[in-house]
């Protein structure tokens, strides 16, 4: 439901978005971690779909995907996780994030219908730029799902209108050129970029890729409508387990909200 996303941005000065890899390290741990995220201050859950060839991800998320696939996670598992989450939570939006092939393999319409039924609100598909996402977008419109686009530092003024046209929910600003989990660029640059994307899209702008600490989350929150943290959470969950990871998530959420 795109309405659930709109409502979330309307209700919060800054939205805190947490990424987790679905099925890492296994379905049971991952499910209970997901279910606990809203209680730790997460406004939107970005649920990663594992893929064998994650070309835009750094090693931390790639390894999480390998663990998830080893424990048997497939696209169907991700849909099941959303369904189970919705049994107890109807207000926190779920955005799935991944690569095109698993969706293409299932069939875009079949996926859109299943995602809608599972209570998923939208998707970010990294390797579907505007030039290639019309088929999936048509399927998503039929089921009221938001196909969220990525804007990057290389998206120039000429290209930006194309990137934001037809976008719903929010625009995800990738704060740097690089893979997930790399180093973040200077803040003042981000401030200008967020304004530029907001201007062109008329939508909220969330900033991600490279936000690792509460301090950075707080700084980003000053300039953006949303802050996304992924790699740092995935790393914490893997290293220190769900309890420690949830404490870390709480500190990030507080920082993002307190700005």
């Amino acid at each position: 439901m795109t309405q659930r996303l709109d409502q979330t941005f309307a209700d919060n000065d800054t939205v805190f978005i947490a990424y987790m890899m679905g099925g890492d390290p296994d379905r049971a741990v991952s499910q209970s971690f997901m279910n606990a995220l809203p209680g730790a201050g997460v406004d939107i859950i970005e649920l990663g779909i594992p893929f064998t060839d994650p070309m835009a991800d750094g090693p931390v998320i790639e390894e999480a995907g390998i663990r998830a696939r080893k424990s048997g996670t497939t696209l169907t598992t991700i849909l099941d996780m959303a369904t189970e989450f919705r049994r107890t939570n109807m207000h926190t939006p779920i955005i799935v994030m991944g690569y095109a092939n698993p969706l293409h393999n299932m069939g875009y319409t079949e996926f859109a219908q299943a995602a809608h039924e599972a209570g998923i609100d939208g998707a970010i598909i990294v390797d579907l730029p505007p030039e290639e996402d019309h088929e999936l977008r048509a399927a998503f419109e039929a089921y009221d799902l938001a196909l969220i686009r990525l804007a990057t530092p290389t998206t120039d003024a000429k290209r930006l209108p194309k990137v934001v046209s037809g976008t719903k929910g929010f625009v995800y600003y990738v704060s740097m050129t690089g893979v997930t989990g790399a180093k973040l660029s200077q803040n003042n640059a981000i401030k200008d970029q967020v304004a530029r994307v907001k201007d062109a899209s008329g939508l909220p702008v969330a900033v991600g890729f490279g936000v690792k600490t509460p301090e950075r989350a707080r700084e980003i929150a000053k300039d953006a409508d949303g802050v996304v943290v992924g790699t740092a959470i995935v790393k914490e969950l893997h290293k220190n387990g769900p309890d420690a990871a949830l404490t870390f998530v709480r500190s990030l959420a507080d920082a993002a909200h307190g700005a």
């Binding site: 893929f51 060839d53 092939n101 998206t155």
Partner: protein
Amino acid sequence: MGKPENIKYPDENGRFGEFGGRFVAETLMPPILELEQAYEEAKADPAFQAEMDYFLEHYVGRPSPLYFAERLTEHAAKENGGAGKIYFKREELNHTGAHKINNCVGQLLLAKRMGKTRIIAETGAGQHGVATATVAARLGMECIVYMGAVDIVRQKPNVFRMRLLGAEVRAVHSGTATLKDAMNEALRDWVTNVGDTFYCIGTVAGPHPYPEMVRDFQTIIGHETKAQILKAEGRLPDAIVACIGGGSNAMGIFHPFIDDKDVRLIGVEAAGHGIETGEHAASLTGGAPGILHGNRTFLLQDEHGQINDAHSISAGLDYPGIGPEHAHLFDIGRAEYVSATDDEALEAFQLCAKLEGILPALESSHALPATIRLAQELGQDGLVVINISGRGDKDIFTIADALGEDIAAGTEG
């Protein structure tokens, strides 16, 4: 009306029928659009063509000969009581020992024209890596080659060759640690260093404009073949055979013949341990359409859309996809695609070495069994050309291993 002629593909969206396209992260869209424009401009510039021609003639050593493989033909005839003539297109005689350098000359001259100073490449067998490192050295450019850790072990001579040429070889340990993972890593590098970096892709795959551009740089193989066979035999061949990993040597020799409908085009994929075992690299014979590495094409994948590991004794064919134009030629039935197993390739390698005094690359060896069969089917008036895309010196350790021989100890002791 039939489907439009393939020769006019790709369309402005980089599509070959249902295949191809630009399936990349947004960060890479502006650079690939910039590349497309730069390539269009270069193509129309006679000075660029002249520079390329100069390098291809004096540096690469073109044209490569079209050679009548008389003893292999006799062998095929003896087995069968008559066989068509077999000709070898000798791409293995190029500088660096494979067809790969044709493309590298084109792409690196384009990189120079675009003002890019840092070259990255992926490599499987190491031939594309060596060719890229070679041309980068000649043009004075920084060169980084990504190579799967598994391939580094089985292609040691090429790794050392690249280092001697001044390139940095970065081992890739992720995934299956082979060609596809090297390509993932190169894409990650490009995403991170878009400003000064030129990604030199080694095959007719990847996002548009790579499948078109690499094809164009390789069609010199087919153009030469056409002129040479007309001169030698006064007619076009009945069939052209080439091995296929990503498919650049095959596309290079096929493309100028696409409108010559009487010429059969036959691509040979690697069947590894056999298609039925699931351990192979035959994307068309044993795969399904999907999206990977920037294009929609046939891929080895499971029922959940996860990419399957490919297997081939030849590192250069060990890739779970295939160039989108091949997927299209397969789809419209203009080209035929068959496969050869590891064992068939090994046997053909030895036959070629003993009868012709030529060590073909293990990749090219895959195309030999189908060539011999075809010559036999066609009978003595037939004419078959096979693209010997590379030389086999790099493979001798793999082959010794497969044959259970110890090179250091010698075999006669």
